[in-house]
């Protein structure tokens, strides 16, 4: 018996671990290493030149990087919060509907079916300053006579991107929160109404504590995939105009593929990975806590 027998769970998890190691972990180690080299795709020999932390020093002193970083955090903060709020609102609206629940729920899931690239495209179309639905509508209604340069002016472009982002991801929150509402026992809510609660108090003290874990599940799932905003931005503005909507991810792509500066791009990519991980771990912790609480009490 020289070979130790593997336990069942180890054996079952082995394929997953192997694939993820091969496709994610090892390449990431490689890219981590290359972030310490001046590696350029066009000059493979640079892969073996070690320059220490120079790439990191460079990007940390690069204003463009910080702008992109700040903008990314801002977009995520705005988008995630609004998605959560709107998702909650939507779920409450649908839950309260007495008729056509099935239809409403199906419609609610609609944006989930759109790939981010499609979302980007459809909003690029709708926000087009010349032929877009938004400007056409605003002009027909007489709100404005001039075409609003949605995707051409920096701030407006940021707004347009946020709207696209929110449109595409609100349904995740709505669906999961609705699942929570439907799973919730009805009597505590009725008891609260009899106990003298206004609808707002009922929500605040009884409903919300119950559906909170569901909101955290949605947040966790969502934070696993925050980088999908890349697809949307890529097609809507590609970081433009003049870098005014540049996010961390578009900046990484540009540095790596247009400028071919792989080493620097990898260093930046590590910041984006870190950002995702921070988001995910944070919500995962909250989710775990909320789960145990609700599991023990409800």
């Amino acid at each position: 018996m020289t070979v130790k027998r593997l336990s069942a769970p180890t054996l079952l998890l082995l394929p997953a671990v192997l694939v993820l190691a091969a496709v994610v972990v090892v390449p990431l180690c490689l890219s981590f290493y290359s972030s310490f080299t001046p590696f350029r795709l066009t000059r493979p020999e640079t892969f073996f030149t070690f320059i220490g932390l120079r790439s990191y020093r460079n990007i940390l002193s690069d204003a463009n990087f910080w702008w992109a970083f700040g903008r990314t955090v801002l977009l995520l903060t705005i988008a995630l919060n609004l998605e959560m709020l709107l998702g909650l609102g939507l779920a409450l609206l649908v839950e309260k509907a007495s008729r056509g629940q099935r239809l409403l729920r199906t419609i609610m899931m609609f944006p989930m079916m759109f790939s981010p690239i499609l979302v980007g495209f459809q909003f690029k179309f709708m926000f087009n300053d010349n032929i877009g639905l938004v400007n056409n509508a605003l002009q027909s209604l007489g709100v404005t006579r001039d075409a609003i340069p949605w995707l051409i002016e920096g701030h407006l472009a940021f707004v347009a991107i946020s709207i696209a982002e929110i449109w595409s991801s609100t349904s995740i929150f709505a669906i999961l929160i609705l699942a929570g509402l439907l799973a919730m026992p009805k009597e505590p809510v009725e008891a609260a109404r009899v106990d003298g609660c206004t609808p707002w108090q009922t929500f605040r003290y009884v409903t919300w504590p119950f559906i909170m874990p569901f909101a955290y599940i949605a947040m966790t799932i969502r934070s696993l995939d925050v980088a999908r905003a890349y697809d949307i931005v890529k097609i809507m503005t590609d970081g433009g105009p003049a870098g005014r909507t540049e996010l961390l991810w578009t900046l990484v792509a540009r540095t790596a593929y247009s400028d071919a500066r792989m080493g620097v791009a990898n260093a930046m990519a590590y910041f984006s990975i870190l950002l995702s991980i921070v988001f995910t771990v944070y919500f995962f912790k909250k989710l775990a806590a909320a789960r145990t609480q609700i599991g023990a009490e409800w």
């Binding site: 394929p15 997953a16 790939s115 874990p213 980088a227």
Partner: protein, 288 residues
């Protein structure tokens, strides 16, 4: 009586507010999709018209005909993209499900050291942004000479889908009572048989929906595909959509038609899985 009247009024106002809110929300959700379908059926002149023409005057399938009529006639190789998308998505889904089922079962049925850390670790691999992952993959794939191949993209997508598939399938197996498998073992099954005879059929619908979810992820993926594919050998539909924007003038109608082609499979599949999907994601929430 006064209090009753005002209470009644308040309730009626709330009902109306609710209906209006619901209507506006649904409108906002549906409008972009409807607009795209509509635009794909209208002649370009109408799309570009100033002042805008709201009600379509002419409806035709020209855009779809042009799209499928192949390269050279203003079309893009949609059929090739479609085929690539299908092959890559289906294969990667099947593999991800097989791997995910093993992993999900391990999480649902066994206790082992570092379980929650392991789970979190698997999830974290999913958080790596596609574009960040594409850098080293591009380099490695170039070395291995698997850029612009189906195999390369399939491998990447399996890795992309495994964590989430494990999460979902873990949830579905937890919904199958442990007693059932134990009863089957007492009835003379091996653990292996018990799994296939009892647990697998019961978790089946959930696993199917996890599969569809994985399929959709692959079908819609852009960040990796845009860097790891080059030509009609392996380009998928999302990357193909960019073909239209590459030129100076955008063929809005053509893009809308392609968008509709992309959305239809996703639409059908999502309808099928919606119920199970939510159940799988939330099963842990109530039962801990």
């Amino acid at each position: 009586m006064d209090a009753n009247a005002s209470a009644r009024l308040k309730r009626r106002a709330a009902t109306i507010a609710h209906r209006v809110g619901l209507f506006l929300a649904m409108l906002f959700i549906c409008l972009p999709g409807i607009w795209i379908v509509l635009s794909s059926l209208r002649p370009t002149v109408e799309i570009l018209a100033k002042p805008p023409i709201w009600i379509p005057q002419q409806v035709s399938l020209d855009a779809y005909v042009a799209m499928f009529s192949g390269v050279g006639k203003g079309g893009i190789p949609v059929l090739d993209y479609f085929r690539n998308s299908l092959i890559i998505s289906v294969t990667s889904t099947v593999l991800a499900i097989a791997i995910g089922m093993a992993g999900g079962y391990a999480f649902a049925r066994y206790r082992f050291r570092g379980k929650s850390a392991m789970f979190l670790g698997l999830m974290l691999t999913r958080t790596v942004p596609g574009i960040a992952l594409s850098l080293p993959l591009f380099f490695v794939y170039a070395r291995l000479d698997i850029i612009d191949t189906h195999f390369g993209l399939i491998l990447a997508y399996v890795a992309l889908n495994v964590p989430f598939t494990i999460w979902l399938i873990d949830g579905f197996f937890r919904q199958v009572p442990k007693d059932l498998a134990e009863a089957a073992q007492i009835d003379g099954c091996t653990r292996w048989q018990a799994f296939w005879q009892v647990e697998f059929p019961l978790a089946g619908p959930g696993i199917a929906s996890a599969g569809i979810f994985a399929f959709l992820t692959s079908w819609n993926e852009f960040a990796l595909a845009s860097q790891l594919t080059r030509s009609i050998n392996s380009k998928t539909l999302p990357v193909g959509l960019l073909d239209y924007t590459a030129e100076f003038t955008i063929d809005w109608r053509g893009m809308c038609a392609l968008a509709v082609v992309m959305i239809i499979p996703a639409l059908i599949l999502t309808f099928i899985v919606q119920k199970h999907l939510v159940g799988g994601l939330t099963s842990g929430a109530v039962k801990g």
